[in-house]
Amino acid sequence: MNLRRDVFQAIADPTRRAILTLVATQAMTAGAIAANFDTARPTVSKHLQILTECELLKQEQNGREIYYQLNAKKMKEIADFIEPFRQMWDDRFNKLEAVMKNYKPKQ
């Protein structure tokens, strides 16, 4: 089985990409994730199963609840997940540099 290809297929689906975005900020239960979609609960469960099988999501047991969270290691296989963070700072610093190159002290 080509796992890498499966990962890309997994993120090709808009609902699954939306799920990844949701859990990027905090770990969530299946119920909390499903509440964000109009889709039927079993459909969301199926998406969670696919994302978990290809290891994009990690499950964590907390009491009786199972929480889903992003699996950073797997995300690195798709793209270096730090790159957008670096790009964000690079854009800001480029702006800073441009602003200050035109800086005229107030008199």
Binding site: P14, L20, L70, P84, R86, W89, F93, E97, V99
Partner: protein, 154 residues
Amino acid sequence: MELKTRIHAEDGMQEITVTREFELPVALLYKAYVEAEIVEQWMGTKVLKLDTHKHGGYLFETTDPRGNKHRFSGSIHDAVSERSITRTFEMEGMPFPVQLEYLEFERLTDDTSKLTMHIVYRSVAYRDQMLQLPFAQGINMAHNRLQEVGINLK
């Protein structure tokens, strides 16, 4: 092309280091951090408060395309002109703990300078989540763009 901004993030550590060299004298680089009107220009945010002194603090506010306001704030623990700023940072109303930021401003030549930002997070997990935020937003934006042009990936 060599990357101007570098991120150093070791696996399993609850900190990162961001470094950047500027074609600016260190005085101008430091000024970009302490003058409200200038911060507004390069951060793209409203500056409601900016007091870069020991026991000082700051409060920034951005408005997203939907009109929602987001506040970012922190305390200034120490500031040495043209050398360093030590501050905390938090995104208000978000489930992320406060982070600690050590900013060092360094003169390289008369016309160039270097900024080193050492950011310490509450845990390794929170650090990884913060690093993933722009990535997640990127997925979201790409998704929206695809929807706009009506491409169906399935």
